[in-house]
């Protein structure tokens, strides 16, 4: 007879697992809270509970969604990327300037993507090969990218290119007279592709493994270096895509665009249930995180009576309520056995 582990262990292990994986709980919590916030808005304000208001969350935050997706990759490995906002600004600036100089839109897209990926690659190499901490390496890149904007031009530069404008102002009308922009489609596509990459490719699974324990991943013989550099390239690329979407949104390039947007992206990712320590999280959560931030902002606009300072206090308070409630819903589940109670 083949000796086996005593049955109880297995039964116990099986029975203990909750139906929803513990790592998904925060995502569910975020979703519930989003619905609640939206319902509160609909109940309180006229015209809030409309399809268009909901769709506008995507229209107005398409770039942030893409940014948060890139950030999710980085954070899953236990890193962080502070340069994303600045890369968005640089992308808008490069796009605006090169379009002004007469480059065809298609070439501009490529150029912007290449620049974004290159800056990401630079981050990745500095972090992985020189052991510089991600927070700092990307902070330096943030200075650099923003600095380059100003080197290109201090002024804001308008985008007049017809192709660009057509894409930017074009919209798709859904039944019920709800319209959305092409950017929304791009953002959703990015989310889907990212989810596939994370869950269905070797690269994606290695991202999680590295976040779970980098040294273990290394000893497991996984391509840790490639993944660590890779996530920053992805984040750089996402920043460039977000930068293009932002250019559509603003139709201008400007060195002061997207100031502090990195914090919005990080907040969205964390609100979406991803652990900053790495290894746990989902892009779907990050998408929900962006929507939550968007709803908060929409609530404030509809309220329409908040002074500048009460706006800040209100955002802070909602953020707090949100985190605490999320914490309560998803509980302090031990992620691993020794996380003990």
């Amino acid at each position: 007879m083949t000796a086996t582990l005593p049955a109880p262990t297995l039964a116990a292990a099986g029975a203990r697992r909750p139906r929803v994986p513990t790592s998904l709980l925060p995502v569910v919590a975020t979703f519930v809270l989003f619905v609640v916030l939206f319902a509160v808005g609909s109940a309180r304000y006229e015209n809030f509970g409309s399809a268009q208001v909901f769709v506008n969350l995507f229209v107005d935050n398409a770039f942030l969604i893409v940014l948060a997706v890139g950030m999710t990759f980085v954070i899953l490995t236990g890193g962080i990327d502070l340069s994303v906002g600045a890369v968005v600004a640089l992308s808008t600036m490069v796009a605006a300037k090169t379009l002004q100089a007469g480059l065809p839109a298609a070439l501009v897209f490529v150029l912007v993507l290449v620049i974004g990926a290159t800056l990401g690659l630079m981050n990745g190499l500095i972090i992985h090969h020189f052991g510089v901490q991600p927070f700092i390496a990307t902070l330096a890149t943030m200075f650099l990218a923003r600095g380059l904007c100003f080197v290109i031009s201090v002024q804001s530069v308008s985008i007049e290119d017809p192709t660009f404008r057509a894409i930017a102002t074009g919209s798709i009308t859904l039944p019920g007279d709800v319209y959305l922009t092409y950017s929304v489609l791009v953002a959703l596509l990015v989310v889907v592709v990212a989810a596939l990459v994370l869950h269905k490719t070797r690269f994606g699974r290695t991202v999680y493994a590295v976040g779970g324990s980098e040294s273990s991943a290394l000893l497991m013989g996984l391509a840790v270096g490639r993944v660590k550099v890779g996530v920053y390239v992805i984040s750089g690329l996402c920043s460039a895509v977000a930068g293009l979407l932002f250019s559509f949104y603003m139709l201008s390039g400007y060195g002061l665009h997207a100031v502090g947007m990195e914090l919005d992206a990080i907040a969205a990712v964390v609100i979406g249930g991803t652990l900053l320590a790495g290894g746990v999280g989902y892009v779907a959560g990050s998408l929900l995180g962006v929507l939550v931030l968007g709803v908060i902002q929409t609530l404030i606009s509809f309220q329409g009576t908040l002074s500048s300072w009460w706006t800040k206090i209100f955002i802070g308070t909602l953020l707090l309520v949100f985190i605490v409630v999320q914490r309560a819903i998803s509980g302090r589940r031990p992620a691993s056995r020794s996380t003990g109670a």
């Binding site: 319209y179 949104y249 139709l251």
Partner: protein, 311 residues
């Protein structure tokens, strides 16, 4: 393209806003990045309530995209008029087009947009930053007549901000007239007192012969005054100071002789804005451009004006 508009209630005379004749205005403020901006906001809020305008106000926390989002929600809320201060000229076409489609008239305050399509907004009420810089330069040119060499240190506003760019440009243009005036050092002080002070401290060490300070706003000038005093010099005498804004603290310093000249940049746009809004709603014609009434102050003028300054 968007097939909307067909159903949108005409936001004209009769107004969709639930029977009452009260005018609803959505105002998208940039932020509260300076005392100037706060005074601007206050003026708009106060004059709205005294003019019986139902004001929906939102603060974009210095982010243009937030401003755009706010304008979108105003469109959703079907307000009667939308007003906002676009600190950046560019990037407004899409959202303004949406407003136009929804038949909501738009008024720009403080700063214009660069759109070639002038039908996107009804009117623009605000100051001309380039002109402000010019006024400052003109005064210096006159003041420097007969002097052989005038070394100027420039304290710029936030890098990339429109008032900083324009005030620099206007000033540079004006001083072309006097070759003896040279800008020997120019650095950003971020429109803040701390920034002005730190930069000035460094300037005083690297360029000991500075004759004039040109600050893009009063706050930086006030910071510079402290640095000059700490270096054992007399602001306004050993080193002349020119600045822009004419906020109360600036005017006080001017009247005390620590600043030599201030170009006003008036934040109190509220009353004029409400006026324009009512006219627009009533379907009256309004001029495409309304310049705020602004002046300049010398030390003597400051002493006279100071008691009645509101901000």
């Amino acid at each position: 393209a968007c097939g909307g508009g067909g159903e949108a209630a005409p936001a004209g005379q009769s107004g969709g806003g639930g029977g009452s004749d009260k005018l609803t205005m959505g105002f998208a403020q940039v932020g509260a990045e300076s005392g100037w901006r706060t005074a601007n906001t206050k003026s708009i809020q106060e004059s709205a309530s005294s003019a019986g305008v139902d004001l929906k106000f939102s603060d974009a926390q210095q982010k243009q995209e937030n401003q755009i989002k706010a304008i979108r929600t105003y469109i959703q809320q079907k307000v009667d008029v939308i007003a906002f201060s676009p600190v950046v000229e560019t990037g407004w076409d899409t959202v303004l087009l949406e407003a136009k489609r929804a038949n909501i008239p738009v008024i720009l305050t403080d700063r214009s947009v660069d759109s070639t399509d002038t039908t996107l907004y009804k009117t623009f009420l605000g100051s001309d930053f380039v002109a402000e810089g010019k006024k400052a330069g003109d005064w210096l040119v006159k003041d420097s007549e007969g002097k052989s060499e005038v070394d100027v240190a420039e304290l710029q506003g936030t890098t990339g901000a429109a008032p900083a760019i324009d005030r620099k440009e206007g000033f540079a243009e004006a001083i072309k007239a006097a070759p003896q005036i040279k800008v020997v050092a120019s650095q950003t002080g971020d429109f803040t007192r701390s920034g002005g002070k730190q930069v000035m401290e460094a300037f005083l060490k690297s360029n000991p012969d500075i004759d004039v300070v040109y600050a893009h706003n009063d706050d930086m000038a006030l910071g510079a005054i402290e640095a000059i005093e700490a270096a054992g010099k007399k602001p306004g005498k050993d080193i002349e100071i020119i600045s822009v804004d004419a906020v109360k603290d600036g005017m006080t310093a001017l009247s005390e002789g620590k600043i030599n000249y201030i170009v006003e940049c008036n934040p109190l746009l509220g009353p004029q804005l409400m006026d324009l809004a009512k006219k627009v709603k009533a379907g009256e014609e309004v001029p495409q451009r309304v310049v705020t009434e602004e002046t300049t102050f010398t030390q003597d003028e400051a002493k006279k004006a100071l008691p009645d300054r509101k901000y």
